[in-house]
């Protein structure tokens, strides 16, 4: 089998001097969907932010490799242009910048990296509209200011829209299901499923099993107190649904105290 497209090796990350991830390892290949589940405070969002290179998250040790290249020292924009994507749990509003303008600028930044010229306006519009249709977004959405006054569902759809246009190799989806009602969840999941395929590896971070009914993972990992304590197939998610996280937390807590 080929080398994994994303390799996380014994990653230790702290925030404001407080260790959060305490040696996390993960391998993701394109075409795979890995679900990372865990209780609140286990380090799920830290993993997402550290992968993307948020300056507030300090990598103390370990490695992150994207397509074999160490990305640990790269800025977020460089990681993005190399094919990493993060769908944010809480996307930030950028007043005055339209969705369309933002998408085109981002896409052009990526194309420039690949030695291509800017996308012609017409071609871009067609591309954007087709993805918006998949996500059941009205055309007028393109003219709205990014995330400003968006409902929870609109924000998440906008994230998946960006992912569709930017076509990453590895996408990290941070609690994409949070704040969504069942209809919105279905639309967003359909959007993600439409992108699934041999060219995309997905890391799906979620607290609840619910999302996994819509986006079927190939692998499930359980994150507790900064470490992956269990890995398995989709059945592990069901087991968590049934038993909760406590049975995994207790031995872990005992370990820490020892």
């Amino acid at each position: 089998m080929s080398q994994p497209d994303l390799i996380v090796k014994d990653l230790q990350v702290s925030v404001d001097g407080k260790p959060i991830l305490k040696g996390l390892s993960l391998e993701v290949r394109k075409g795979e969907v890995h679900a990372i589940m865990g209780p609140n405070g286990s380090g799920k969002s830290t993993l997402a932010n550290a992968l993307m290179g948020h300056p507030k998250y300090t990598v103390d040790s370990g490695q992150m490799l994207l397509a074999g290249e160490d990305i640990g020292e790269l800025e977020a924009d460089e990681r993005s242009r190399k094919g990493l994507f993060l769908a944010f749990q809480y996307p930030t509003a950028i007043p005055g910048v339209s969705v369309a303008n933002f998408l085109r600028t981002s896409l052009n930044a990526r194309r420039k990296e690949q030695g291509e010229g800017p996308i012609p306006v017409k071609e871009f519009r067609t591309l954007m509209r087709s993805h918006m249709a998949t996500l059941k977004m009205d055309d007028s959405f393109a003219g709205r200011y990014l995330n400003e006054g968006f409902s929870g569902g609109e924000k998440k759809r906008a994230e998946i829209l960006q992912m569709s246009v930017l076509k990453p190799q590895i996408a990290v989806l941070d609690e994409t299901d949070s704040g969504l009602d069942i209809d919105a969840l279905r639309v967003v999941s359909d959007g993600v499923n439409a992108l699934r395929g041999p060219d995309l590896g997905i890391v799906l971070i979620t607290h609840y099993q619910r999302l996994l009914n819509y986006i079927k993972p190939d692998f499930v990992h359980v994150l507790v107190a900064g470490r992956l304590v269990r890995s398995g197939g989709p059945e592990l998610a069901l087991e968590l649904e049934e038993k909760g996280y406590d049975w995994l937390i207790e031995p872990e807590a005992a370990n820490t105290q020892a």
Partner: protein, 468 residues
């Protein structure tokens, strides 16, 4: 270009900060006194009343103390300035007749191209005089006047005299007095009753000579029910010594008329820009100032509207973007002198690299001006720790039955916003530029498309200082 020093905006020098070899037909000696004023007036062959006006204005200028508020004007040495540099013998009506160097300069600045594509008329001033002036024939046939102020005085003396200095008398402030004493160039516009000039008229002001002062004078009269959009742009070479630009602009908008005056001020960072701009709006007339300030070392400019009669409206949209070594004290004034008049001010100031940008404004409602409405909104965006923003919103309300609102916000570019944009592949400067573009979007979307593009391009240019 050896003496050109780039103060902060790295690409400014290359794009705008170049200069031509001096090739004026006349350059007055440095300094300011009555004999200089006399000589300027004589060279222009002016009527006596104008020469007298100039001399009186000089006395007022000399008598008035320097302003101690706003920005630091203490370093201006009034005796070390050329007050009059005449570039050509006469104004050209075709670009072919403009001397090659000057034509090349305006070509680099894109003026002839813009004229062809989207303007009704263009005036191009180079140092002290307008070297090119033209208005489309169909407008001329409708009686629209668009001339250099000098030609306005020569060809329409009666009209010119009726309005000149009435709204901004010499005694208004020290720099208005200075301008009145040594004014040269600028625009004179008259739009007859009911005539709508749908496509903008533009004037472009270019300083070329080192150590000079540019003192254009603009007079705009929009008659009843008429409309005009006037746009001005300006740039200058980047010199190691300072230049002075001190203009006076007077505008009259008669009953039911509308005037929009758009400025994209992009002087080099060695120019003192001390300008007085005032409009009078009569019954149901509308005056709109769109004031974009990106350049200059110091700008003190507060476009004003005097709401003279019932139903008059004022709108001011102001942008100031200050970088290293720049202090932009921008703002607005609305003076409600009649009932049921309205004013709206939106100001967006941005500062970075130790720059200082601010809003200074006055809303005044006179006794008896009942039913007035005024809203002021000032937003400031500070891009780094060294930079500064000031807001001075003054209000003088002498009437009870009015509605006056003021809102101000100050924000810094947030780490989360930057990270979000960077996670989509934008470099940090690109991300900052996008946040800034979004910040000024409510104003930029009011501009004609070509100027909106220009404004965003200038913002990008201003942001490029952030690289490395």
């Amino acid at each position: 270009m050896a003496e050109a020093v780039d103060i902060s905006r790295e690409t400014y020098t290359e794009k705008y900060g170049f200069h031509d070899t001096e090739q004026h037909v006349f350059k007055i000696r440095k300094g300011l006194d009555h004999s200089i004023v006399d000589e300027i007036s004589r060279m222009k062959g002016e009527p006596e009343w104008m020469r007298d006006t100039r001399h009186k204005a000089l006395d007022i200028f000399l008598a008035k103390p320097m302003p101690t508020w706003g920005g630091d004007v203490g370093a201006i040495n009034f005796q070390d300035i050329y007050y009059y540099v005449k570039p050509t013998d006469e104004e050209a009506k075709t670009w072919e007749d403009v001397p090659a160097d000057m034509k090349r300069t305006f070509d680099r600045l894109g003026i002839p191209e813009a004229e062809q594509k989207f303007l009704s008329g263009v005036g191009a001033q180079y140092d002290s005089e307008v070297v090119y002036h033209k208005i489309k024939e169909d407008l001329e046939k409708k009686g629209v006047l668009f001339l250099s102020a000098d030609h306005g005085l020569k060809e329409h003396e009666h009209l010119f005299k009726e309005y000149f200095g009435k709204l901004i008398p010499s005694a208004d402030n020290k720099f208005a007095a200075l301008n009145t004493a040594v004014w040269s160039g600028g625009s004179f516009i008259y739009v007859p009753k009911g005539v709508k000039v749908d496509v903008p008229l533009q004037a472009y002001f270019r300083i070329n000579t080192k150590d000079m002062g540019q003192f254009e004078r603009t007079l705009i009269i929009v008659d009843e029910g008429a409309y005009v959009h006037y746009v001005e742009g300006c740039t200058a070479p980047t010199y190691s010594s300072d230049s002075l630009h001190s203009a006076v602009v007077e505008i009259y908008v008669k009953e039911g008329g509308r005037c929009r005056y758009t400025t994209i001020q992009n002087w080099s960072n060695n120019v003192y820009n001390l300008v007085t701009k005032r409009a009078a709006a009569y019954k149901n007339a509308t005056m709109e100032w769109v004031d974009g300030n990106l350049g200059s070392k110091l700008t003190m400019k507060y476009p004003s509207v005097y709401l003279m009669e019932e139903g008059a409206k004022a709108e001011v949209l102001s942008i100031a973007f200050a970088g290293k070594g720049q202090h932009l004290d921008a703002g607005a004034k609305a003076v409600h002198l009649a009932p049921n008049t309205t004013s709206s001010v939106v100001s967006k100031s941005i500062s970075q690299h130790g720059g200082r940008a601010g809003y200074r404004g006055l809303i005044k409602v006179a006794k008896g001006a009942v039913g007035c409405k005024s809203t002021v909104r000032c937003d400031a965006l500070i891009l780094d720790e060294e930079s500064r923003s000031d807001t001075y919103p003054y209000m003088e309300i002498e009437e009870d039955d009015v509605s006056v609102g003021h809102e101000a916000t100050v924000s810094k570019i947030g780490e989360e916003q930057l990270f979000y944009l960077m996670s989509r592949g934008l470099s940090e400067p690109e991300a900052s530029a996008m946040i800034v573009s979004g910040f000024i979007e409510p104003i930029v979307k009011e501009l004609p498309m070509e100027y909106a593009v220009e404004m965003n391009r200038l913002i990008q240019l201003q942001m490029e200082g952030s690289v490395g």
